[in-house]
């Protein structure tokens, strides 16, 4: 569940509507055959789990994130051509990084899934070659709480993007998937995804602008 922290009087009306929306969305629980109860968590749940890791060093929250993401990170690494033992080592490293760097997570710029994807991608590059050029980092912190409404809106956009991906024709989705899982070279990557990226780009741009404003 999301937590909105009211600071003073500036608690935008829009937030209240969002809280109502979040509260009205029931936590989805499904039962998988032979596996007992499996939580079908939403991006909001992953964010709150990561905040529990960050603020409370909460091992149960970490275990929930681990059970969902670790097998997927491993699939990502294996499909990119990494051997089983190295992929296992890399998964554990990525998940330990998540614990150690939880304070750097910015929910207005990326969902938890996206953040984990970038950590796994970077780790894969580090294992393949020594140097990984990284853009100048925007200094982060000591920051006030990131704007919750912005973080929420970004998750909504990410959700829409996920739905758009699900609706792509199989062939196209598989092409994009192969590009992101490192199964094709950069020259084979198709530029056109057919996905509506404009709105999520605008969201991230807004977050960057706000960050720059705070820095100046």
């Amino acid at each position: 569940m999301m937590m909105f922290r009211a600071s003073g009087s500036e608690f935008p009306d829009a937030c209240i509507g969002m809280v109502a929306y979040v509260l009205s969305a029931p936590a989805k629980i499904r039962v998988q055959e032979g596996l007992g109860v499996v939580e079908d968590a939403s991006p909001d749940d992953w964010t709150s789990a990561l905040l529990q890791v960050r603020d409370g060093r909460d091992r149960d929250a970490f275990a929930r994130l681990f059970r969902h993401f670790a097998p997927r990170i491993k699939a990502f690494l294996r499909r990119g051509g990494m051997g089983d033992a190295q992929a296992e080592d890399c998964v554990q490293d990525v998940m330990a990084t998540l614990w150690n760097k939880a304070h750097l997570y910015d929910p207005t710029r990326a969902t938890v899934a996206t953040w984990i994807f970038t950590i796994a991608r970077n780790r894969r590059i580090d294992m393949l070659r020594r140097v990984r050029p990284e853009p100048e980092d925007l200094p982060w912190g000591p920051e006030p709480e990131p704007d919750q409404a912005d973080a929420f809106a970004l998750r909504q956009e990410a959700q829409r993007l996920g739905e758009a991906i699900a609706q792509l024709p199989d062939a196209q989705r598989s092409l994009i998937e192969r590009a992101f899982f490192g199964e094709v070279s950069h020259s084979e990557i198709a530029a056109e995804t057919g996905l509506p990226l404009g709105t999520i780009k605008s969201r991230i741009r807004l977050a960057l602008d706000r960050l720059r404003q705070r820095l100046n």
Binding site: D93, A158, G182, E192
Partner: protein, 214 residues
């Protein structure tokens, strides 16, 4: 910095996927250091990566995977913590990391025709170099067998297609034949990455090419 020429969707998507050879990744990361618009577009492509990861079928972990990870956490961070890149003058941080300082620390080698170069990195079949083009001079007319990405760091150049100033990036491929000319005024300094040798259209540069590594 007013940037008019940006990274293409194709390059950003390959960068988001971690699929660019190091030389191109260096040019992309350098441009991203200047350009919040491309940073946001990169973020959108990374969001596709996040969605793909979230939706994919997981692979089997080692039986003690979670316990082993918690033991790693208890042992404290072992992965090297990167020193935070800091802006160092004219060079964007990722490039300054490679050069080991600012422009003053670059070891230039003259390659004739008013052009000097310094090879910064090569590997994965692609290489990146700094080019210093005296104002008003031309880089000989050339075509490309592969991909060429050129980021302007100082000064400006023009070719048959457009003008490129600081922060601008030109992406040329096999279909591009061009003669970049440095504008009068400040000398032009660029970071250029290629994944195949350039094809010069004149005889002399072709000979020079074989021992100048361009």
């Amino acid at each position: 910095m007013a940037i008019n020429h940006h990274l293409s969707d194709k390059i950003l998507m390959a960068h988001a996927a971690g699929n660019l050879p190091e030389a191109f990744a260096l040019v992309a990361a350098s441009h991203l250091s200047f350009c919040d618009d491309c940073r946001a577009r990169l973020g959108a492509f990374e969001a596709i990566g996040g969605a793909m990861l979230d939706r994919c079928e997981g692979a089997a972990l080692a039986a003690d995977s979670l316990e082993a990870t918690l033991a790693r956490i208890d042992a404290g961070p072992t992965t090297r913590i990167r020193p935070q890149p800091r802006p160092r003058g004219a060079l964007p941080a990722p490039l300054a990391d490679y050069v080991g300082g600012d422009l003053a620390s670059v070891r230039w080698r003259p390659i004739g025709m008013g052009v000097r170069q310094a090879v910064i990195c090569s590997g994965d079949g692609a290489s990146a170099r700094l080019l210093h083009i005296a104002s008003g001079r031309a880089v000989p007319d050339h075509g490309h067998r592969g991909l060429e990405m050129t980021l302007v760091l100082q000064g400006a150049f023009r070719d048959e297609t457009a003008r490129f100033g600081p922060g601008d990036i030109e992406i040329a491929d096999a279909s591009t034949e061009h003669t970049p000319v440095a504008e009068p005024g400040a000398d032009c300094i660029c970071l250029a990455a290629t994944d195949a040798p350039l094809r010069f259209n004149a005889f002399l540069p072709r000979i020079a090419q074989s021992f100048l590594r361009i």
